[in-house]
Every structure is written in structure tokens, then in C-alpha cells.
């Protein structure tokens, strides 16, 4: 007997349809899986055998061959357990063959026949929808994640016996449904770090607002304890709300990485990732024997916060350059290359020197002049080229901490950011980019025209303040964003002036 069950594999963050073919023939009892299966897939036969027996069905003692087609792509993970078991049951006539015509199955089996959650269910559901498959059978923990995709019935199944009863039509399982709007409203209530908690630091808050509005990468330089981390953590709270498509994209990445909490449908908040500085280059941009998205992709459409930037290994910082520039991380293997999207806003923090006290008047800095120079010097060049805004974060004095007046809440800042983003999207809609930081030099020439006063100011600033040539385009882009925040169509002198003030490292930080 031959049966065919549809399942799904993963390449990057996209699913592709895998057909699980089961053939049971006479011969010496055997159980073989072919089709470039990795160890986890090959071990499925032990789980499948036990799960079928323990669910009260007979495991055929005949020659069983499983083929995972297309047979030339590598199959990984445990989500083929369920389709293989279903294939065996169907080839022995327990499950009617017609059941699989319009269903996609995925799930891991435990030895007693219970289904366990797997990763990547969301992209698999999307693949099912795109291939016009009507329903998907998943473990209950993954059901909400799958249910956000419209047009596919999501059938949560607890164990193998339930699947058999359902397939025979003896029980009815209510498909899980999920409403995007319902949860969007709830999301607002969740308490997240808010800018109203931060006293003082108006200058840095403003810089973060500009960074959020234009999608600019930002570097904060300041002594330990000046609040760099606190400020960075509040960055997601002023980023524009995620649209459904954006949420879907982020959820896909988390689903593939296996980081989606059980019974969650969508990642609704913009991600904030803060990897420790000991992270490897693979951990940062993705890769590994079985490729997984790295931190930069997990921060897709959100914030990647790198605290103590100069402490990261040189290698890790170097590999970060291409993903930051292109918006995707490419992992090349001999047989395939995988891309993970990573359009993230980089927020980095650095101490001014190794001991951190260089700018502090009250604590002694033990570094020599040369060490101070070298410390931030590690960052120079191509990486800094991708950071538009560099600000110094001063240490707060006690009277500022004690300030009674509450600071501006994130919701107000977010309103301005949203308005500025809307202007940018309108302007850039024909260029297939969505914010100012992504403008190419030719777009900068087109969209960042200066009037007489502001171009005179910029020219004078360059000659007087020793600005480097590479900062020219950065200043224009940031000035464009500041003008958008102001809602003015032309870049004015005040905007240029403010943008120049965000180039701390160009302004010969050390004298």
C-alpha cells in the first residue's frame, strides 16, 4: 500500500511543501527513511513505532519505506514525526487516504502518542495557504501561531488517537481562530518601559526620537551609570506600531528560531534584543550547522542594542556591516544559501574609555592618553560609517534625578515619530524604501535640497569644525528626518545645526 501525506520543511524563514510518501510491502520487517533526513528525522522511526503501539494501533511488521520528497533538500527537525506516523497508519488502512488530500501535518510525537510543539509553524501555515491547502493539523501549543494566517483551517490535535478519530469523521475538532485586532487592543495595556521614567537627558532623548523617526542607527557615549541602557530599553516604546504584515514577518523569524512562547499567535511588540558582548559572529548574524537566525535578525523591525560596543570581538563587529547595510543576513552553505531579514535599528552604547571615567569629573580615569584614544578608535571606519547619530550621554547630577516634573511619556513622542514616518513613506514610496536612513546618495541629492542659508551654514561648519567628509551625507539624512519631525518640506538651518550636533565622534572627541 502506498500513501502520501503533505508536510512542510523550512528554508530560511520560508516553508516549502514536503510530500511524505509511505510504502508498505512484503519482505523482511524494516523501517527506512530516505530523502536527505538528518539525525532528528531518522530517529523519528523509533518515536513513530512506539507512539503507534502505545496509541492502541498495530505497527505493521513488514517492509516500510518512507520517502521525503523533494528528495534532494535536507530535512531537519522533529516535525515530520506526525506525517510519518499518519502515513504508516494510512498505508495500513487505519486512516482514509482522502483525508490527506487537503491537509498539511506537522508535529513531534512523544512515545505515548501525544503531540509536542515544533518550531516554524507560522511559515509552514503560510506555505500551506500559498499552495491552496485548506487545513493544517498542528500540536495545540502551535495552534494560535498558525491561526493568524487567514484561509487555512487550523486543527489542533492532542494525540495520535484523536487524529485517527478526527480523520475518520468520528469526532469534530473546532478550528482555532485568531483575531489580529482583538489582541492589538490588548497589547496597549501591557506595561513596558516608558520614557517618562527617565529624568533629564533631554538632549539624548531627542536624539533617540530622531533615530526612531528616521530609522537611524545611533551610538551613545557616556560613563557607566549615566543611563545608556535605560534609555536604549525605552527605544521600542517610541517606534511606530507594527502593522499586521510586519508582525507576521517578525513572528516568522521567532517561529523559525523556536523562540515563540507557547500559545502566542503573533509577536506584537517590536523586538528589543540586547546580546552580551561575548557573542560570537554566528550568534550575531546567524548561521551554525543547522542555520538559525542571529540576534540581528531577531531584532528585525525592532532594536538591536549592543552595550559596550568596543568590547565586542572585532570579528563580530565586522560581520555586522553587511546585514546592517542590506537589511538581510545571508548564510551561505555548499548546497544552499539562506537569507534572514534584519531591518533593525542599531542602538549602541560605549564607555568613553576602558575604565569609563574619562568624561567624569569626580572619578579618576586610570587610562593613559593612548588607551583613551585607542578605546573608541577600535570602532573607527566602516562600522561607524553606518551609525548616523552619535551622542554623548552626560552623568546626571543629583538635582536632576530629584526633579519633580514628570518627563514626557513615550506615547507623545511616538505620535511625532509616527507623523514623521508617514511623511517619509509618502515621499519614498516610489523608491522601495521606507525611511530616511536608507536613502542612497542619489536620493539624498534629490530629497535633501538645502536653501541658501542652510547650505552656507553646512559649508561653514565643515571648514570650521573639522568635520570629516564621510559625515556629509549622514548630516543631510539626519537633517531630513529632523525636518520631517518638524513637518517642514524644506531642510532649514536649524535642522542642519541640530544634525551637526549629533556627530560627536567626528568632532575630534579627544584633544
Amino acid at each position: 500500500m502506498l500513501s502520501k501525506v503533505t508536510s512542510c520543511g523550512l528554508s530560511g524563514i520560508d516553508g516549502y511543501i514536503v510530500s511524505v510518501e509511505t510504502d508498505i510491502s512484503n519482505g523482511l520487517p524494516a523501517f527506512d527513511i530516505v530523502g536527505l533526513a538528518d539525525i532528528a528525522v531518522r530517529e523519528a522511526k523509533e518515536r513513530v513505532r512506539a507512539a503507534i503501539r502505545n496509541s492502541g494501533f498495530e505497527f505493521p511488521s513488514r517492509r516500510i519505506t518512507i520517502n521525503l520528497a523533494p528528495a534532494d533538500l535536507k530535512k531537519e527537525g522533529t516535525s515530520y514525526d506526525l506525517p510519518i506516523a499518519a502515513g504508516v497508519l494510512s498505508a495500513t488502512g487505519i486512516i482514509p487516504l482522502e483525508f490527506f488530500n487537503n491537509s498539511l501535518l506537522c508535529g513531534e510525537l512523544s512515545l505515548d502518542g501525544t503531540l509536542r510543539p515544533v518550531y516554524g509553524v507560522l511559515p509552514k501555515t503560510i506555505a500551506a495557504r500559498d499552495n491552496e491547502i485548506k487545513s493544517i493539523v498542528v500540536p495545540p501549543e502551535n495552534a494560535y501561531e498558525a491561526a493568524v494566517v487567514k484561509g487555512v483551517r487550523v486543527i489542533p490535535v492532542r494525540n495520535l488517537s484523536e487524529l485517527v478519530l478526527y480523520a475518520k469523521g468520528e469526532v469534530e475538532i473546532i478550528p482555532v481562530e485568531e483575531e489580529w485586532d482583538k489582541h492589538a487592543a490588548n497589547g496597549e495595556n501591557e506595561k513596558e518601559p516608558d520614557f517618562s521614567d527617565v529624568r533629564g537627558q533631554y538632549h539624548v532623548k531627542r536624539a533617540l526620537e530622531v533615530a526612531a523617526a528616521g530609522g537611524h542607527n545611533l551610538l551613545m557615549i557616556g560613563s557607566p551609570g549615566s543611563g545608556k541602557t535605560m534609555l536604549a530599553r525605552r527605544m521600542p516604546s517610541i517606534l511606530p506600531d507594527m502593522t499586521f504584515d510586519e508582525a507576521l514577518e517578525v513572528t516568522k523569524i521567532y517561529s523559525v528560531a523556536g523562540l515563540l512562547p507557547p500559545e502566542t499567535s503573533l509577536v506584537r511588540k517590536r523586538p528589543f534584543r540586547a546580546p552580551h558582548h561575548t557573542i560570537s559572529s554566528v550568534g550575531l548574524v546567524g548561521g551554525g550547522r543547522i542555520p538559525r537566525p542571529g540576534e540581528v535578525s531577531l531584532a528585525h523591525l525592532g532594536v538591536l542594542f549592543l552595550d559596550e560596543l568596543p568590547e565586542f570581538s572585532k570579528n563580530a563587529l565586522e560581520v555586522l556591516r553587511q546585514p546592517l547595510e542590506d537589511g538581510f543576513a545571508m548564510i551561505s552553505r555548499i548546497n544552499a544559501s539562506i537569507t534572514y531579514p534584519c531591518r533593525t535599528t542599531l542602538v549602541a552604547a560605549a564607555n568613553p574609555c576602558k575604565c569609563g571615567n574619562y568624561l567624569d569629573e569626580t572619578r579618576p580615569c586610570n587610562c593613559t592618553q593612548q588607551e583613551v584614544r585607542n578605546y573608541l578608535g577600535k570602532l573607527s571606519g566602516p562600522l561607524l560609517d553606518r551609525i548616523d547619530i552619535q551622542v554623548e550621554v552626560p552623568s546626571l547630577k543629583y538635582n536632576e534625578l530629584d526633579e519633580q516634573e514628570p518627563s514626557e511619556p513615550s506615547s507623545l513622542i511616538k505620535k511625532r515619530v509616527n507623523a514623521a514616518r508617514a511623511i517619509q513613506q509618502e515621499r519614498l514610496k516610489n523608491n522601495r524604501i521606507y525611511c530616511n536612513s536608507q536613502m542612497t546618495p542619489s536620493m539624498i541629492r534629490r530629497f535633501c535640497r538645502l536653501d541658501k542659508e542652510s547650505s552656507a551654514l553646512l559649508k561653514e561648519a565643515f571648514s570650521r569644525l573639522n568635520l570629516t567628509a564621510r559625515s556629509y551625507n549622514r548630516i543631510l539624512k539626519v537633517a531630513r528626518t529632523i525636518a520631517d519631525l518638524d513637518g517642514t518640506p524644506e531642510i532649514e538651518a536649524v535642522h542642519i545645526a541640530e544634525a551637526i550636533q549629533y556627530r560627536a565622534l567626528d568632532r575630534s572627541f579627544f584633544e
Partner: protein
């Protein structure tokens, strides 16, 4: 060149004999040429030298290398001033252990009113600004400013004196053919044009940590007083102040913020009795009685605050920012808080003042007045 010069240089560069012993030998023998000729017995009879010293004097090696040194002097246009030369500074000659020879590029005078300025290499904006101001005013009084051309205060002191067309002398802790720190190459050229660079180390000597305290005795030795601008608790500038006291020089100290670690040393000096300096006049007051003080120079002796120029051409926001800023560095947030000018406008105002050269932005995004 002086025919005896070869022996002088040979003697000055002998290793392993401290300067005090060399000076005692010179007193006994009169001239290095006689020491050069002396045999072991004559040297031992002096009672000054131990066995190693005598071996050092008699060894052949330094006698050979002295010719190389002389070639380097010609090559680098360095002149030598020995203790018997007219030009050897009078003040320096009278310290406990004056250098046998001085290597000089530029020109030095025998009797010159000089003030030494020393301080931290890692100076604050306050230190740099006040150093430049005092140094340029000293130069306007015709006083030569002596320092060590190190980073920070030293560099500011030379720049200050040069800015008002005065004379300045830099004392090196290495050979004069080496520029240390290297970024001061241009400054060194200007110092040579308007004064001199001086060292007791022959050309080719690389800067070593132990050279600098030894160098500092020359800075204070050539000066009638030493001004310490910024010094941490355990800084080399305090050693210089100590040396200056031992040499009988005046020690002046510029007070600082009691919190600032850069000013702990100077504030301590004041506690110990150094004269507190708030303007150049406090120094002039002490030194005006010296015979070669040019009394006819008159300077507007206002304090720092009144020196602040606020041009009338500034607009109203610029004026109020100028009124508030001083030599104490202020963050943009602090200015924003005190003046309640909107941040965006403040950026514009600060940038424009900076480009007019009225204020300066420091590391850490702090602003101070430019005086």
C-alpha cells in the same frame, strides 16, 4: 666649534655617573679636557668616584661615540651650551645639580625673566583655557614661558605664549631630534622660531619615563617661579613643585573645583602654602621687583569674567547663552534647563557661537567660553 667641545660632550654623556658627581669633578679639574686626560690614580684620589665610575671614565666606548654625537649635532642643527659658556642660564647654574651641557635648538638668553608652567597631561577644558590665557598674558609682559611640551597643560602653555608673540622654551626629556609627543611637530617648529627647545640628553635619546622628573628640575631651574595649573593627587607636576621649592623658586597654583580630580593636587599645594593665582597679576605682583622686569608694559588686569567679550552683533539668545557660559564646562541639558531655551534652537545658537569662535565644544559635549 669650540675645540674643547668634544670633551664637554663626552663628559656630559658619560653614563653611570650622576650629575652631582660630574659637577664636583668639574670643580676639581676645572675643565673636562683634564678629566679626559686623567689616569685612574688621579681620578681615585678625588675621593668622589667609585670603581665603576672610574671604569666608565676610562672606557674607550664613550670616546668613540662622542664623534657620532657631534655629527648628529651638526646634522640636526643643534648647538651646545656648556657650563662655561656665556649663554648658560644664570638661574640654572645655581641649582644643586645643573646639567653639564645643554643641547639647544633656537636661542636662549643668559638672564631672562622666565616662569615655568606645568600641569596634567590629561587636562580639563578649564585647565587648558586658563593656561592659554595666563601664558599669553605673561608673554605680553615680556616674560618667557618655560614648559615641557607634553600633552595637555604644557602644550597649552606654549600655544598661549606664542599667541601673543612672546618667547617660550620647551625642555625635552629626550634628544632634540625626536618630537615627543609626535603631534606637536608643528608646535616645536614654532617654539624654535620664538625661543628654544632645550634638553640635557644627546640627540638620539628616546623618551623614557625616568627622564621626565630629571627634565622637570631644568624647567623649574630656569624659571624664577613655577605655576602649577592642574595636577592630580600623585602627579609629576607636584614633583616639579617640590623641586622648585628645593631650588628656592616661588610656587604658584591655580585653584580648581574641589570635586575635580584634576585640581586635587593644586588645591593641596595651596593648602601647603603655594600662592593662589586667579589672574596673571598675582604672578606679576610677586616678580615685579626683579631687576630685569620690564615695568613699562601695562596690561588691562581684569579677572576672567570681565575678559569675556560679548559682541553686540549677537542676537538675544546668543547673548543670553554667552552671559551664562564660563570656563566651567556645561552640558547642553544644563544650559537648556537654566535658560529654558528650546533644545532645537539651542543647538543652532551653540553651533553659531562655536563657529564665531566665542565658545568651544569639548569631549563629552560640554561647552565652555573661549577666552
Amino acid at each position: 666649534m669650540n675645540s674643547k667641545l668634544r670633551e664637554w660632550i663626552w663628559f656630559a654623556n658619560l653614563k653611570g655617573i650622576i650629575t652631582r658627581k660630574k659637577n664636583e669633578l668639574l670643580e676639581l679639574f676645572g675643565t673636562p679636557a683634564l678629566i679626559y686626560e686623567a689616569d685612574a690614580i688621579a681620578l681615585a684620589k678625588t675621593g668622589i668616584l667609585n670603581r665603576e665610575n672610574i671604569e666608565a671614565i676610562l672606557s674607550a666606548e664613550p670616546r668613540k661615540t662622542v664623534d657620532e654625537t657631534m655629527e648628529k649635532l651638526v646634522l640636526n642643527n643643534i648647538s651646545v651650551i656648556t657650563q662655561e659658556d656665556e649663554a648658560y642660564p644664570e638661574l640654572l647654574k645655581n641649582i644643586a645639580d645643573p646639567p653639564v651641557c645643554l643641547y639647544v635648538k633656537g636661542n636662549i638668553e643668559r638672564e631672562e625673566m622666565s616662569i615655568g608652567i606645568v600641569g596634567s597631561r590629561r587636562a580639563s577644558g578649564y585647565g587648558i583655557t586658563t593656561t592659554k590665557k595666563i601664558s599669553s598674558e605673561l608673554a605680553e609682559y615680556g616674560i618667557c614661558v618655560i614648559s615641557g611640551m607634553a600633552r595637555g597643560i604644557d602644550t597649552a602653555a606654549h600655544h598661549g605664549a606664542l599667541s601673543s608673540g612672546g618667547r617660550t622654551i620647551a625642555v625635552f626629556g629626550c634628544g632634540l631630534d625626536i618630537v615627543y609627543p609626535p603631534e606637536n611637530r608643528r608646535l616645536m617648529e614654532r617654539i624654535i622660531e620664538n625661543g628654544a627647545v632645550v634638553s640635557e640628553y644627546p640627540p638620539g635619546t628616546i623618551p623614557a619615563p625616568h627622564h621626565f622628573p630629571v627634565r622637570n628640575r631644568i624647567v623649574s631651574g630656569m624659571s624664577i617661579g613655577i605655576l602649577v595649573v592642574e595636577a592630580g593627587e600623585k602627579s609629576g607636576s607636584l614633583i616639579t613643585a617640590q623641586l622648585a621649592l628645593e631650588q628656592g623658586r616661588d610656587v604658584y597654583a591655580l585653584p580648581g573645583n574641589v570635586i575635580s580630580i584634576n585640581s586635587r593636587g593644586t588645591n593641596k599645594l595651596i593648602q601647603d602654602g603655594a600662592k593662589l593665582i586667579t589672574s596673571v597679576y598675582d604672578i606679576i605682583d610677586e616678580i615685579r621687583w626683579y631687576k630685569n622686569f620690564r615695568k613699562n608694559t601695562v596690561l588691562d588686569l581684569n579677572d576672567f569674567r570681565n575678559r569675556k567679550k560679548i559682541p553686540d552683533s549677537l542676537d538675544i539668545e546668543e547673548q543670553s547663552v554667552m552671559q551664562m557660559l564660563s570656563v566651567e564646562p556645561l552640558q547642553i541639558d544644563e544650559i537648556h534647563n537654566r535658560l529654558s531655551i528650546e533644545l532645537q534652537l539651542l543647538h543652532r545658537v551653540l553651533l553659531s557661537l562655536e563657529m564665531k569662535g566665542l565658545i568651544r565644544r569639548e569631549a563629552g559635549g560640554k561647552y565652555i567660553i573661549q577666552i
